[in-house]
């Protein structure tokens, strides 16, 4: 199968997948019941007529299929409706909160990539040494530590005991740190980013270390060493580049890491991002927000997986297409 045909097939699969998620999501939300009744019925002074008129106002009296296609056509045009709790357009909220999420997630991934390259080179070039075992043990601890616990311990030490870093939010409401809003924003980012770096490093180091150990055993590395190259160039020039092939194709995993760590990280640090927003929407049953956020997350994840698959065949021509 040619590359073009492969990519076309993946593309069609991706679109089918997103459509499938939209059907399942709609069916499941529908199964919970009439949102107007759930949200209003318990409140005082709400009569059946009010519920009926509000239901009609939101178009919830139509048949399931009618409502599904109305909704589908709306989200295709990126119109996710209005948040019930915040009374703001969902699309606008997703952008604003999404930017806040990226503000801590991107440094979290980039710094972790850098740190894990350094650590895994240290470990892999000294396989089975004390350093290597220390790195593996560290990764084991990193994988066993609940995210929220590390966040809370960081807050306890740096905000409460030492009193040098803010424990919540993305900005100070009054008196920004050092009188500058930029520094104030960065100052608030330190703790959440540290927490993300810790967990991403634990994951990435394991992947990179084992990949690097495999590469360092191969013949072309021996050849490079035999030709008299200094070890530093063998490791950073030859081995690392090849060790990165599997890691680069973990693009999807990186993206999954970002989305998976967002809810807990943002809840611990009361960060105004998508993850915390999503949890809040679920707890308060803000239907348009839940559905809009779920669809956006799905589209982003499917796109990341698609790009990963394509990157895979482009970077490594040996991959068998199928």
């Amino acid at each position: 199968m040619g590359t073009a045909r492969y990519i076309t097939r993946r593309l069609i699969f991706a679109v089918c997948l997103i459509w499938g998620v939209s059907v399942i999501l709609f069916a499941m939300i529908n199964a919970i019941g009439n949102p107007i009744e759930i949200l209003l019925a318990e409140r005082p002074g709400i009569t059946d007529e009010i519920i009926e008129s509000v239901t009609k106002y939101y178009g919830l009296d139509g048949s399931v299929t009618d409502r599904y296609f109305t909704w589908l056509w709306a989200i295709v045009r990126l119109d996710f409706g209005t948040s019930i709790i915040y009374n703001l357009p969902v699309s606008e909220m997703l952008v604003i909160y999404g930017m806040e999420t990226l503000k801590i997630q991107i440094p979290g991934i980039v710094i972790a990539l850098f740190v894990s390259v350094m650590i895994s080179v240290l470990a892999a070039t000294r396989q089975y040494s004390k350093v290597d075992f220390g790195v593996i043990a560290g990764a084991m601890v990193g994988h066993s530590l609940p995210g929220f616990l590390l966040g809370i311990i960081l807050i306890l030490i740096f905000s409460y005991w030492l009193g040098i870093l803010p424990s919540y939010g993305a900005y100070s409401t009054r008196n920004p740190v050092m009188g500058s809003e930029v520094i104030d924003g960065l100052w608030h980012m330190v703790l959440p980013v540290s927490m993300l770096v810790f967990f991403n490093t634990a994951t990435l180091t394991l992947l990179l270390r084992s990949s690097l150990v495999d590469v360092l055993r191969q013949d072309f590395i021996t050849a490079a060493r035999a030709s008299g190259l200094p070890e530093r160039r063998v490791v950073f020039g030859h081995a690392l580049r090849n060790a990165f092939i599997p890691v680069l194709t973990y693009l999807g995993i990186l993206f999954g890491l970002m989305l998976g760590t967002a809810p807990v990280t943002e809840t611990v640090f009361t960060w105004p991002g998508l993850g915390a927003l999503y949890i809040m929407a679920i707890q308060q049953l803000d239907y348009p927000l839940i559905m809009g956020a779920t669809m956006i997350i799905t589209v982003m994840l499917v796109t990341a997986t698609l790009l990963t698959d394509i990157a895979y065949v482009v970077i490594d021509p040996r991959i068998r297409l199928g």
Binding site: I32, H143, P146, I152, I155, I297, T298, L301
Partner: protein, 285 residues
């Protein structure tokens, strides 16, 4: 079990032995919880000793509602182990069935099923679980079910591969030529050969399940108060972190120790069943 311990001793994997010991303590605590402390000791409010620091009568202190931390800790171990154990068992059975059937039969239905599994895997597990709890409503049962469903695709994909290669092996073909039916071949001949994989994956998944369960409970999506779930305990006591850190640190350390012990034992089990394989560590949530 004895063989496993001897293996760990002989290969000097002392950390895994420590892990086993810690696990044994947690299991004993979870089993004996109703004998040592009544459910009401773990749930009834007693404000006269609210936020009491650790002392002789209350070795780990009391939480913000004046409940004995040890009582909440042992009942919490019970909750965590029940949620993790049930969800992993359910997921293992479902994953084995789906993975086994999809590996054994190769047709349109199994192709579509595996594609659906691949699609779910591309979502972070904690997000899948969060979406499921949105529909099911928060609580212990829905938490267990959500974790189980979110791990089925992982198991299905993991078990399909070995089944795919085992079904063409000579001993399977031999019993087919003797007239054994598909179900007999699959469950009597193929499945027993992946039992080691099942045990190893099960133990690692337990660690992951405990982590995800506590994370979701921390977010308020797990068992509701006053059920003493460790993650939920941390979330509820957070506002007292500065004045009495023990209300957060006690369940936190217990959680960390339990997950670490499960990971260490899983790691040891992997080396025990397949000494050639690399080290096993659970994927993060």
């Amino acid at each position: 079990m004895t063989g496993f311990i001897i293996f760990l001793l002989a290969t000097r994997r002392y950390m895994a032995i420590v892990g086993l010991g810690v696990l044994a303590v947690f299991f004993a605590a979870a089993l004996a919880a109703p004998l040592i402390y009544s459910w009401s000791a773990a749930t009834l409010v007693n404000l006269s000793q609210a936020l009491a620091p650790p002392s002789l009568t209350l070795p780990l202190g009391a939480d913000e509602m004046g409940r004995d931390m040890i009582a909440r800790l042992v009942w919490g171990a019970r909750v965590s182990l029940i949620v993790a154990g049930t969800s992993v068992s359910v997921a293992l059975v479902a994953g084995l069935l789906i993975g086994g059937l999809c590996g054994y039969y190769d047709n349109r239905i199994t192709f579509v099923t595996m594609r659906a599994m691949d699609a779910v895997i591309s979502f972070p597990r904690i997000l899948v679980a969060i979406m499921l709890i949105t529909i099911l409503g928060p609580g212990m049962a829905s938490l267990t079910l959500a974790i189980a469903i979110s791990s089925v695709p992982v198991f299905a994909r993991l078990f399909r591969g070995p089944v795919l290669s085992l079904k063409t092996r000579d001993f399977v073909l031999a019993s087919r030529s003797l007239g054994a039916g598909d179900m007999r071949l699959l469950f009597r001949h193929v499945m027993p050969n992946i039992s080691a994989l099942i045990i190893v994956q099960g133990s690692i998944s337990l660690a992951e399940a405990v982590l995800i369960a506590s994370g979701l409970s921390f977010l308020g999506l797990g068992p509701q108060p006053p059920v003493p779930e460790w993650g939920a305990m941390i979330a509820q006591s957070r506002s007292h972190l500065m004045s009495s850190p023990h209300v957060v640190l006690v369940p936190g350390i217990a959680l960390f120790l339990l997950v670490l012990a499960l990971n260490l034992v899983g790691d040891g089990l992997r080396d025990f069943t397949d000494p050639k394989a690399g080290r096993a560590i659970a994927r993060p949530a």
